[in-house]
């Protein structure tokens, strides 16, 4: 019989597994011979997928155009670096702000849509932007992307090095901060309202909650985080190409999130880990046909672990706990 604040505080309590998760990511840095550039990619994809999770997992908005926001962030960071604004952290803020503004507009445009219509409109917006970037060769460098992107030192101290040490720690720190924000959001009353609208929009309206505004807000927040992920990519590889906002990227991030599991926040990171490691490994085995195996993996995961990796592990974990007789009866959504 606790107060509302106590309830949300209870939700926000960190589970041991969560702490382990982030400690492992830090620990990987110290493993000798580890592929840091790949790990940086994983973190960036994970952050990108987490931003999609806010829309898809928590609000039930199926968008096929999420790469548009990633691309906006990537190009913002690219232009800044090209035209002399080399300080990376302020560039992240700017990338987030511009992506959020576009996200807010996109959210307003699609908030009364659902299902297939929403899918088509978001896909359409993504394609329009991609085509625009590809064609405006003078402005964007077209297919070649932006040339001469210069990124300064992080905090004026850490230079982006050849081994990707700075890139990894920088990406991890930024992703963790974004994760903290997302985590606070989904465990607040705003997050609860998103879940309610995901399930039953008319009912939320009848409970006095107009649900249009939260779509715009969710889009803006998700877009800002996707924009940060895009900017991180530009900064860590010091270049940007139209790939950043291709439809393929929108599809890949959806695959990553569904592999990892929706409405968990961690799903995106776990999905990115599996997806990118496999892609890396498969591409070494056979550089042409690796999508076959990714496709097969997707079919297997969705067929046998319907809800994705993290939720399936969560269920397994709860069962093991029950067997041990520690039936806590906590909602397994909160478990991890």
């Amino acid at each position: 019989m606790n107060t509302p604040t106590a309830y949300f505080e209870g939700l926000a309590r960190w589970k041991p597994l969560e702490i382990v998760f982030w400690l492992v990511l830090v620990g990987l840095f110290f493993v000798p011979g580890v592929n840091l550039p790949l790990l940086s990619q994983i973190i960036i994809w994970g952050l990108f997928a987490m931003s999609l999770d806010l829309l898809l997992g928590y609000r039930g908005i199926l968008t096929m155009g999420h790469a548009a926001f990633f691309g906006i962030g990537a190009y913002t960071a690219g232009y800044l670096g090209k035209f002399g604004w080399t300080e990376p952290i302020s560039a992240l803020f700017l990338a987030a702000a511009i992506a959020a503004a576009v996200g807010l507009l996109a959210g307003r445009l699609v908030r009364s849509l659902g299902g297939i219509a929403l899918l088509m409109v978001t896909l359409g917006l993504n394609l329009i932007l991609y085509d625009f970037v590809l064609r405006s060769t003078e402005l964007t460098g077209g297919d070649d992307g932006l040339q001469g992107v210069v990124i300064g030192q992080v905090l004026g101290m850490f230079k982006f090095d050849l081994y990707g040490k700075t890139a990894y720690l920088y990406s991890l720190a930024v992703a963790f901060l974004m994760f903290l924000i997302a985590r606070a959001l989904v465990k607040s009353s705003f997050g609860l309202a998103l879940l309610g609208a995901r399930e039953n929009i008319p009912r939320m309206i009848m409970l006095g909650a107009p649900v249009g505004k939260d779509v715009s807000a969710a889009f803006a927040i998700a877009a800002a985080m996707a924009g940060v992920a895009g900017a991180l990519l530009t900064q860590t590889i010091q270049s940007v190409s139209p790939d950043a906002l291709s439809f393929q990227r929108s599809a890949d991030v959806l695959v990553i999130l569904i592999l990892g599991g929706t409405a968990r926040l961690y799903g995106g990171f776990v999905g990115a880990f599996v997806f990118l490691f496999l892609r890396d490994w498969l591409a070494q085995l056979n550089p042409v046909y690796w999508y076959f195996w990714i496709g097969l993996l997707l079919v297997v995961v969705v067929a046998f672990f319907r809800k994705g990796i993290v939720p399936s592990l969560g269920v397994l974990f709860t069962r093991m706990q029950k067997k041990r007789g520690t039936d806590e009866r906590t909602p397994n959504r909160a478990a991890l």
Binding site: T3, L195, G196, R203, M206, G208, A209, P210, R329, P331
Partner: protein, 243 residues
């Protein structure tokens, strides 16, 4: 929330004048007049398909309004969207219950809770059964528990006018008893106006102050609930069920 602190006391909880409404062009209700005072419980009875549910849905803003006025605590609401009516104090517990199945009992109650007398603690005191099951998901509840949760969730928005559409429909006698207790406890609060649509007219009449009987979209009878309950002849004529 909408600065109606003083006006709540000065006006009836609900006033309906010459209301006609339906679905699209089809008119179901014809010239309904009724008033529900603060703290009063009014029961709406009638045969199947005479417009009882349409009446509560019209008050909530879910039907097509054709003519007439709906006044909630002195504010005309017939042109307002549903969510604004809710914020003016209109709570609605639909027949279908529609609890959020993927949320826990606790989350269902807190999801759109608004400040007021009905805090989660007070709601749990009213529904001890929900307090026991607060960590269970909506999908894990029995029909009766879902009904309780639907009422609890609506109470958490601190309505001043609560519309209950067939709350005891299809529930076991023990659960019906429990819900009747809840309804009477809400009545004893003194400030909440209740509108109860019910097929089980005996239970409804025994636990309300006044009643209206609807037939073919019109009010054909209004009286104190007690009087109609005692008048088996009129009841038989109006509802058409053998005593």
């Amino acid at each position: 929330m909408h600065g109606c602190g003083r006006s709540i006391l000065a006006h009836s909880a609900l006033q309906i004048k010459g209301l006609s409404a339906g679905y699209g062009a089809a008119r179901v209700l014809h010239g309904i007049d009724l008033t529900v005072e603060r703290g009063e419980t009014m029961v709406v009875i009638g045969r199947n398909g005479v417009g009882k549910t349409t009446l509560v849905e019209t008050i909530c803003g879910l039907t097509s309004h054709h003519a007439g006025e709906i006044i909630v605590h002195g504010t005309r609401v017939e042109a307002l969207p549903a969510y604004k009516r809710n914020r003016l104090g209109v709570g609605w517990v639909p027949q279908e219950r529609e609890v959020f199945k993927s949320l826990t009992v606790d989350e269902n109650i807190r999801i759109v809770g608004r400040a007021g007398a009905w805090t989660p603690a007070k709601i749990y005191a009213l529904f001890p059964r929900l307090a026991e099951r607060r960590r269970n998901y909506g999908s894990q509840l029995s029909g009766g528990e879902q009904q309780m949760l639907a009422i609890a969730r609506s109470l958490a928005t601190n309505p001043t006018l609560l519309l209950l559409d067939e709350p005891v429909e299809g529930l076991a006698p023990l659960i019906v008893q429990e819900l009747v207790r809840v309804i009477n406890q809400m009545r004893s609060e003194g400030s909440l106006a209740l509108v109860l649509v019910e097929q089980k007219h005996e239970i409804a009449l025994a636990n309300s102050d006044r009643c209206v009987v609807i037939d073919h979209g019109e009010i054909v009878h209004r009286s104190a609930s007690r009087d109609l309950l005692a008048d088996a002849e009129t009841l038989e004529r109006l509802i058409g069920v053998a005593a």
